[in-house]
């Protein structure tokens, strides 16, 4: 059976203007991703990997080109729509975890569900299940400043799965972690592989080896697929 295309990117460009200097982060990217695909993106520093992930996730806007995610052309919508889009379709695991410093681990996990206005009972129950999934039950009421790097990464994964989004974007999930914690994260990624579209920015050979497709970016272009 032919799988549905969930991401269609064409002629995508992103140019930054920093103090008069023009920096071309992405320079004409074309890509199609089908439902349930597990894609990894690698490339040298500054090649535009994170920018590409941000554009697909609706965090940033392109300079030109088209990004269609689950049938929505992200270039055409306003910030309010994009907020709802991110909340509903996308689970994002940031490179620097990005947990909200004033919330505990469980509250951080519950946050996207609060934004989606789920009922309180459901939020509490699902937050507990996700904590169990990532093995942080005993860290539920700890603040981000009280967690280790691996725990922060696992909490970030749990939060990304909170609204059960169909698309998971993961930025360098094992880059800052030790071998043991890295393996745990890879375990989580493997478990997600079956029912979600996943795009991971990584250089980790262990993750690259489980991917359906690997893209290599250099100077804002896909040089290898």
């Amino acid at each position: 059976m032919l799988k549905k295309k969930v991401i269609v990117v064409s002629s995508l460009r992103k140019v930054y203007n920093i103090d008069g200097a023009t920096v071309e982060a992405l320079n004409g990217i074309d890509l199609e991703v089908t439902e349930g695909e597990f894609i990894t993106i690698s490339g040298p520093s500054g090649s535009g990997k994170t920018t590409f992930l941000n554009l697909i996730g609706g965090l940033d806007r392109p300079t030109s080109g088209k990004i269609e995610v689950f049938g929505h052309d992200l270039t055409k919508f306003d910030e309010e729509f994009l907020a709802t889009f991110r909340c509903t379709y996308v689970g994002y695991v940031f490179q620097s975890y990005n947990l909200i410093s004033t919330l505990t681990t469980i509250e951080n996990i519950a946050f996207p569900m609060q934004m989606a206005k789920w009922d309180q009972e459901h939020i509490e129950e699902r937050s507990r299940r996700l904590l169990e999934l990532v093995g942080l039950e005993d860290r539920a009421n700890h603040f981000p400043s009280q967690l280790s790097g691996g725990e922060l990464q696992r909490a970030a994964f749990a939060r990304a799965l909170a609204n059960d989004p169909p698309l998971l974007l993961v930025d360098e999930p094992t880059g800052n972690l030790d071998l043991h914690t890295g393996l745990k994260i890879i375990g989580i990624l493997q478990s997600l592989k079956q029912n979600k579209t996943v795009i991971v920015v990584t250089h980790d050979q262990r993750i690259l080896s489980i991917a359906d497709r690997t893209l290599t970016l250099a100077d804002g272009r896909i040089v290898e697929s």
Partner: protein, 626 residues
């Protein structure tokens, strides 16, 4: 390193334009309001703490003086708090820079000098611009008052007043700023680089709230955030409490004082009152009454001249008109009066005496009045003038202030007689330089049994006001007398007071500016500290409304807590200390409530400015901050 210290502070201030401008504006507001109040009071004839002759009676001047003094004190305190808070805010945001400077080997002395230059620039600019703006405000206000028909002469600006105010502020701000910098320069490098120390945040907030309130998600976030930035939250609350107290003092104090002083005038002149006298005397009387609002020279007349005599027959004619409540016949003369020294034995040292007061003389108008027909209902200290009070007089407040150290012990002398002071009245006539005494006594002293002034009061409940006035005019005309309705003069007095208070009330906008500055400063800090968290929230699907709601809630809680302390302090000062016997209408109470609520509402909304700034920032940039 010296070049670094020399050129960098200016560049650094330029780069932090908004915060630098905010701190300087706050200093300017504080210095300018104080200087304006001192200069303006001097021009009005009301000095802070003392009174000069000119316009307004002593009693009225005292109300203005107290008001101005309170505002100056509160403004000084509020200005210092806001300026110190903004300086703390500015320097706290530089904590990481200090850590980096130290980490790369910069000496504490250089860091100290670097920031000392910055403080010097900010304080000098703030105080200089403040002094200039204060002088400008003074001239502008006087111009405005004169434009609307009041004659306020401009006294030359006393350079010493300006210098004293300038250097007091400069010194206080500089010392406070340097204290903060000295503290910062001593911080350990590791601490300065720690984000926890930079924002003075605690890993956890110890604030415990009732369960139902805690269930509210946004409220939980807000309370935690306020608790974690405890040091700045407390500083902001203190600033807001003082500023809101000042705002209440200005608004409630100004409106109440306006109504109260207007009622003093109304009571002193008398409502629905007409003056009946010969034309020249009537004009003279009005001139003396108008001395309250403008310094004028009234043409001298011979009070006991035959031409001004009003006989008993005229009084009887007017008394007979229906609707007339009171006819107050008077004799008015001008005399030199003097205070007598009071000497009494010292109870502690037998054989020695205590001397109270000095011998002082002054020109005053003396009225011989009949106690039973007196129209005036002055605000009185002491007792009213009774029929049996021969040997006692009532004196105006300015005369009491000018002649006596203790009017209750000393006595007043004129026409070779001595009188005890029975009471002191707040009287705008001749600017409070008046004496009221029993008619019979004055009549026998000067050997004159006629009147030269008639004050006629019409029943305030009557619907025939104009026809009664017409009848009085006809009766007066038949005798060659003229009728002057004093309500019109009274209206001018009241509108003069009203414009003075309105002008002083406009100061509330300057106080309000200070409140806005401190609140925006707090939110700049608070939001800058939460920039990453707010960015993450947006990345996770929080829309603009949620973020704005979050910030509005924080500002609402901060302002309400500040108001909880500030408003009662202001109200207590106004009604217990400033005007204990306040006269205030329901409409005025309502307008105080509306004005204060609007200020608080606008204050809440002012927090949206930094919120909108953060919402304009791309999410990727907001979350990039370490």
């Amino acid at each position: 390193m010296s070049q670094f210290v020399g050129s960098f502070p200016l560049k650094d201030l330029k780069r932090r334009k908004f915060q630098t401008a905010l701190t300087i504006t706050s200093l300017v507001v504080c210095v300018s309001v104080t200087i304006f109040l001192i200069l303006f009071a001097d021009n009005l004839g009301v000095e802070v703490l003392s009174v000069t002759e000119g316009k307004l009676t002593f009693g009225f001047s005292e109300v203005f003086s107290r008001f101005i003094l309170l505002i100056v004190l509160f403004n000084f305190a509020a200005g210092i708090m806001v300026a110190y808070f903004l300086m703390s805010l500015t320097t706290s945001q530089r904590m990481q820079d200090i850590g980096i400077m130290k980490a790369i080997g910069c000496l504490a002395e250089d860091i100290h000098n670097f920031f000392a230059i910055e403080i010097l620039i900010i304080v000098s600019l703030g105080c200089l611009l403040g002094a200039a703006f204060g002088i400008f405000l003074n001239y502008a206000s006087i111009y405005l008052m004169n434009f609307f028909g009041y004659k306020i002469s401009t006294n030359p600006v006393n350079p010493w007043t300006i210098m004293l105010s300038f250097f007091s502020f400069f010194l206080v701000f500089y010392v406070l700023g340097m204290r903060r910098i000295a503290k910062m320069a001593r911080i350990e490098t590791v601490k300065a680089l720690s984000p926890l120390f930079v924002w003075k945040t605690m890993p956890k907030s110890n604030l415990k709230l009732p369960r139902p309130f805690y269930e509210m998600f946004l409220a939980k976030l807000v309370i935690r955030n306020m608790g974690r930035r405890r040091s700045f939250t407390v500083q902001t609350l203190s600033c807001l409490a003082v500023i809101l107290a000042l705002l209440t003092l200005t608004v409630a104090g100004g409106i109440t004082a306006n109504e109260t002083t207007q009622s003093y005038v109304e009571r002193a002149v008398g409502k629905n009152t007409m003056l009946v006298a010969y034309p020249e005397m009537a004009e003279h009387f009005q001139g003396l009454l108008n001395r309250f609002i403008e310094p004028n020279t009234v043409k001298e007349i011979e009070y006991l001249d035959e031409r001004y005599v009003i006989h008993d027959s005229a009084v009887s004619m007017i008394v007979g008109i229906e609707g007339i409540v009171k006819v107050d016949p008077r004799i008015m003369i001008k005399e030199t009066v003097h205070s007598n020294i009071y000497i009494r034995p010292n109870p502690d040292r037998p054989g020695e005496y205590i001397v109270i007061g000095t011998y002082k003389t002054s020109e005053a108008l003396i009225f011989g009045v009949k106690a039973e027909s007196l129209i005036n209902d002055w605000l009185l200290l002491g007792k009213k003038l009774g029929e049996a009070d021969s040997g006692s007089v009532l004196i105006g407040d300015s005369l009491a202030m000018n002649l006596f150290d203790d009017p209750w012990l000393q006595s007043l002398g004129f026409l070779n007689s001595t009188f005890n002071v029975a009471g002191i009245c707040l009287d705008p006539f001749n600017n409070g330089m008046v004496v009221y005494m029993p008619y019979d006594q004055l009549s026998s002293l000067i050997g004159n049994e006629d009147y030269n002034i008639l004050l006629v009061q019409v029943d305030p409940t009557t619907e025939r006001m104009s026809s009664i006035r017409h009848e009085v005019e006809e009766a007066a005309l038949s005798l060659g007398l003229v009728v002057v309705p004093l309500d019109e003069v009274q209206t001018r007095h009241k509108s003069f007071l009203s414009s003075l208070w309105s002008l002083l009330l406009s100061l509330s906008f300057l106080c309000f500016t200070n409140a806005v500055i401190s609140l925006v400063g707090y939110f700049m800090l608070s939001i800058a500290g939460q920039q990453r968290d707010l960015g993450i929230m947006r990345a996770l699907g929080a829309n603009h409304r949620t973020i704005l709601g979050y910030i509005l809630l924080e500002s609402f809680l901060i302002i309400c807590t500040g108001a909880l302390f500030g408003l009662p302090i202001g109200i207590v000062i106004v009604f217990w200390f400033f005007i204990p016997d306040a006269v205030i209408s329901e409409a005025a109470t309502l307008s105080i409530g509306v004005i204060l609520s609007s200020f608080i509402g606008v204050l809440c909304l002012s927090s949206l400015y930094p919120a909108r700034r953060i919402l304009k920032m791309p999410i990727t940039k907001a979350t990039a901050k370490p």
